[in-house]
């Protein structure tokens, strides 16, 4: 069971603690059940993949986790706190950060300003501090700037700090989203198809980036269609089909699961 061939080093045995727990999560839109009684646990320090064919409900699960949707039934618990009913920005401030499937950057702002968004909730300065430009406000701004630049350095976009986000290459836009998410200093990073639209080289670099994020002690949950990335980066997989969970386990084990082969891997080439 522990034979998972991942690029990331094996996780510490036995001392695992659940960071995120989904229990019986259900969400319907009109008559359609997008997510159907899904339960799984993300262990602290792990890299978990959420896979499944298109329309399986993966992104809906993400949107439930970050509070963009409210579940009809079921519970989500993060580090012992129930997330149910919390607004998105509150959930972010508890230590979950995310990226979006169809890149959502602040297009007409600079790369640096985009990352500063992630620093926002840990800052205090309000209207008055800004108008009076208090020393504490200036210090805070400088700190945030330093932190943002560090995250840009980390993802390799330091040189483009003053470029407008919309002028970045596609792969760079994905990396900028990750930098913005990291700037919130999350415990759990939720990535929605991080390799979407990336070429082979970029995907290779992304796998390296995911490993480095993990080395910082950040737990990762990701949706991905690129099977090479999933097999190499993740040490645990959850497979969804038609809103329900059909398999769970180490990548090698999931890959051999007949149900998974039927539902998903049999049509892998479409991904």
């Amino acid at each position: 069971m522990m034979e998972a061939p991942s690029v990331v080093s094996g996780r510490p045995a036995a001392t695992t603690t659940p960071l995120l727990t989904l229990q019986g999560l259900t969400k319907t839109f009109g008559g359609l059940t997008a997510v159907d009684a899904v339960s799984f646990v993300v262990e602290e320090g792990s890299v978990m993949g959420l896979i499944g064919p298109n329309g399986a409900g993966k992104t809906t699960v993400f949107n439930l986790i970050t509070g963009n949707y409210r579940p009809d039934r079921g519970r989500i618990e993060f580090a012992g706190t129930s997330l149910t009913g919390l607004r998105t920005h509150r959930i972010i401030s508890l230590g979950i950060a995310r990226t979006f499937q169809n890149i959502r950057l602040f297009q007409r702002l600079t790369v640096l300003e985009n990352v500063l968004a992630g620093c926002h909730y840990r800052m205090r300065g309000g209207i008055l501090a800004a108008l009076l430009r208090l020393p504490s406000q200036r210090r805070e701004e400088n700190d945030a700037m330093g932190r943002a630049l560090k995250e840009l350095e980390f993802v390799g976009l330091r040189q483009q700090a003053l470029t407008l986000a919309k002028n970045l290459a596609y792969g760079d836009q994905r990396r900028l989203e990750i930098a913005r998410a990291l700037a919130t200093r999350p415990r759990l990073l939720v990535l929605d198809e991080p390799a979407g639209g990336m070429n082979e080289q970029e995907t290779e670099a992304l796998i390296g980036l995911i490993a480095r994020i993990r080395e910082r002690g950040i737990t990762i949950l990701l949706i991905e269609h690129d099977m090479r990335l999933v097999m190499r980066a993740c040490e645990e997989l959850v497979v969804l089909e038609n809103g329900g969970k059909i398999a769970e386990g180490a990548p090698e084990q999931v890959r051999r699961d007949p149900k998974v082969i039927e539902a998903y891997l049999g049509t892998e080439d479409e991904a």
Binding site: N68, T88, L116
Partner: protein, 317 residues
């Protein structure tokens, strides 16, 4: 290039500051109007330009401020300039109360609601709300402002009062722009879902933008009441909201210099072409159409890149 821009701004400021010396009273009065609209548009710019919230009822907040000042002055003999903070506060709080239930609406829906709010306020004033607003005739006999013993009466004197306020507003709003608060408004405008998903309390910042923008309109209302000494509901009709909306979009939503430039064009040009009588509005309309077709982003669009810390610039070179 950067120096050229600075030079242009300094030149414009110097020219403006000395304008009353070589312009006649009528021309100075036009500049005063431009200044008032500039103040209003800078407030609206926070809501519409920085935060991207479609507000086409800005005249309502202007009216609330003007009437607050007029009522306090005529009924309770409070010196008109002293009412400045209070009329700002009343207009701001009014905006918060009005915006709270509707601020989650998107784009065009919010636009329609704010048009409705503007009309409700105007009609309430016409109907002599609380028996205090004087109905369609409005309120007369607002006293002249008195600044450190100098009674402000002539257009030249109002010029320095109004443009002093504009200068202070530019100073404050530039600081706001380069802050956590200012950035939060921009994130909201660019992508609300991403903003909330980055940990920004979007509901709070929407309300804050409305409150602050309206407070500014309220204070501009005080200046207007002081300048006119008589106010009536017709000064705050739907057209005023439309003109302000136009100034912000035309100037380049989110750009302070652009908004002021547009205030000069939108308010100043029709005055300049007064001899063409009714044809001037035709030309004016045509200019708007051409402008929106060929330069929809406005005269001076807001750009990113306001943060140029020395370390960064060196790192790039």
């Amino acid at each position: 290039m950067k120096h050229g821009k600075l030079f242009a701004v300094v030149l414009a400021a110097a020219l403006l500051a000395t304008a009353p010396l070589f312009l006649n009273a009528y021309q100075v009065d036009v500049l005063n109007s431009i200044g008032l609209y500039g103040l209003l548009a800078l407030g609206l710019n926070l809501i519409l330009g920085e935060a991207g919230l479609f507000n086409m009822g800005h005249a309502a907040f202007y009216a609330v401020g003007a009437y607050t000042a007029a009522i306090l002055n005529t009924r309770y003999q409070i010196p008109i300039l002293w009412t400045l903070p209070l009329s700002g506060l009343v207009a701001g709080v009014f905006a918060l109360v009005v915006a709270r239930p509707v601020v989650h609406l998107r784009g065009d829906y919010l636009l329609i609601v704010t048009i409705g709010v503007g009309e409700i306020v105007r009609i309430a004033l016409v109907n002599d709300l609380f028996g205090m607003t004087g109905g369609a005739n409005g309120i007369f006999g607002i006293s002249r402002p008195n600044l450190f013993g100098i009674v402000i009466r002539r257009p030249q004197e109002f010029f320095y009062l109004i443009w002093g306020c504009v200068a202070l507003t530019i100073f404050l709003f530039l600081r706001l722009k380069q802050s956590r608060f200012g950035r939060a408004l921009n994130y909201l405008r660019e992508d609300e879902v991403a903003a909330e998903g980055s940990g920004i309390n979007t509901a709070y910042y929407k309300l804050a933008a409305f409150g602050l923008g309206a407070a500014w309109a309220g204070m501009a209302g005080t200046l207007f009441a002081a300048k006119m000494t008589i106010i009536s509901p017709e000064s705050f009709n739907f057209w005023e909201s439309v003109v302000l909306f136009m100034i912000v979009i035309l100037g380049g939503a989110g750009n302070i210099v652009g908004v002021l430039l547009a205030a000069f064009l939108v308010i100043g040009l029709p005055e300049l072409f007064r001899e063409f009588a009714s044809a001037r509005m035709l030309v004016f309309g045509l200019v708007m159409v051409v402008m929106m077709v060929f330069r929809p982003q406005g005269l001076l669009p807001a750009g990113g890149g306001r943060f140029l810390p020395a370390t960064l610039v060196r790192g790039r070179g």
